[in-house]
Amino acid sequence: MTPRMTTEVRIGVLRLADSAPVLVAQERGMFAELGLDVRLSVEPSWANLADKLAYGLLDAAVMLPPLVLASVLGLRGPKANLIVPMGLTHGGNSIVFGHGDGAHGIAHGDRPQVLEWLKSQPNPPRLGVVHHFSTHNLMLRYWLALAGACPDRDFETIVVPPEQVVDALAEGRIAGFCAGAPWGDVARLRGVGQIQVGTSSIWPAHPEKCLAVHGNWAVANALPMLALIRGLLRAQAVCDRPSEADDIASLLARPDGLGLPWQATRMALPGGSGIEQIRFHTGETWFPAHAHAVWFLRQMRRWGWLDADTDLIAAARMVYRPDLLAPAVHAEGLYSAACVLSLEGHARLPMPNDPAFSPALAIASSR
């Protein structure tokens, strides 16, 4: 046995299938072989992850990109110094409506028929999302607006924890929801709701969860940071293999770990039969594109959460740090470091004809 330096890294995760790369890297020794001693902390809420990162009680966490941006801009409390060195997953969410009140016809045709359905509703229907500053909320609003509805006037959005969202729908406390896997399929299997659309249909290969770290930690721990990203890159490649999905579902289902339901989790992993499959590696899920951050920020401004003065491009560049990812991708032999940064030019965005967002403008101004 050769003694070697190990660095302790505290990583926060939630009980979600998107946490798979962190658990796989830990379980299969990818962190250990890179000299990291990782302590996992399973947290009950996104707010806990954001607070513990901000106050240094966690070094890194699986996070929602809009929540990281909101934390940095001081929209939920203090301005926190958080950065995103890599993406973790693409896709995986679905929009589900209950069976009542003729919601069946909504998904027909090219555009969701939300306006027709709204006419039959006496009050603004309530929709559940997992966090205010979530990809789920932004994509749900985007989809409703695409149909010509005004999310703030025509709907009421409330936050319901993912584990409670199916029960809330069954009990009629919400008319629908947008949540991550496996909850859309769970609602469908239980017969309490109909999946209107998977979020990958709204925005193909959309960024979902990311890795967030404290800016100070990243500066003070350059080598552990590189090792952390490398370990996760290795785990992401494993998570994307359908042949591994049974094992990974079992790992996520362990009662002493995340305790997720095995079957519904398996459906959301690559090769599964759910409405959405999470992607962990294919399509450069790990690349934190500035264009993605700008899209989230523009949507936040669109709904009045951000003032007109905030420089969105500057915020995106400050938070999303592909420069920290590049050496790790190079070291893993995926792309040369110079090539990694050019992936920015391949970042995909939803619906280029959407008047609320012009990708041409974003790309031009971020150069």
Partner: protein
Amino acid sequence: MRILLADDNAERARAVAHVLAADPGLVVLHHRQTDLLADAVIALKPDIVLVDMARPDRDALEGIRQVTNRQDRPVVLFVDEDDPSFMEEAIMAGVSSYNVLDVPLRDVKPILRAAMALFQRHQQERDRLHKAESRLLERETVDRAKAILIRDRRLNEPEAYGWLRRQAMTRGLRIAEVAKDVVRGKEGSPA
């Protein structure tokens, strides 16, 4: 000031409510577990929400003004930017506070501090209980290991204990850990 206490631990919630109720200027509100936390905030219109950080529905309080167009007053996470160690302590204690924006910092801090003290005490009691339980469990394990050694290696009790102690010293483990291995059958069978 109206304080909504979102804590499912009834005993702790009672203790916090008891302390806060001593101040005649405070009204402590509870919400039914069957209600969504967001609904309770809309219905009860508290100035401060004290929330147990172990609750998954804590996320319901984030950005609540934007979430409900009927809530006209913004609710924000309590932060004392000048006192980061206080914030860290609150997180460690497992309690956080959301306030209506116009409630001044100096009014909130003592309330949060009082809640923190009770959360910390509760945590310490739980830790103590946990330690006591595991000590008891360890003692049982050592007894079972001794019984195995007495049977399989034909040792008397002091010899069995001596064996465990020697193993612990050479392997750099605690006696309880060696005992655990013996009980699991790793070391218990005669060589």
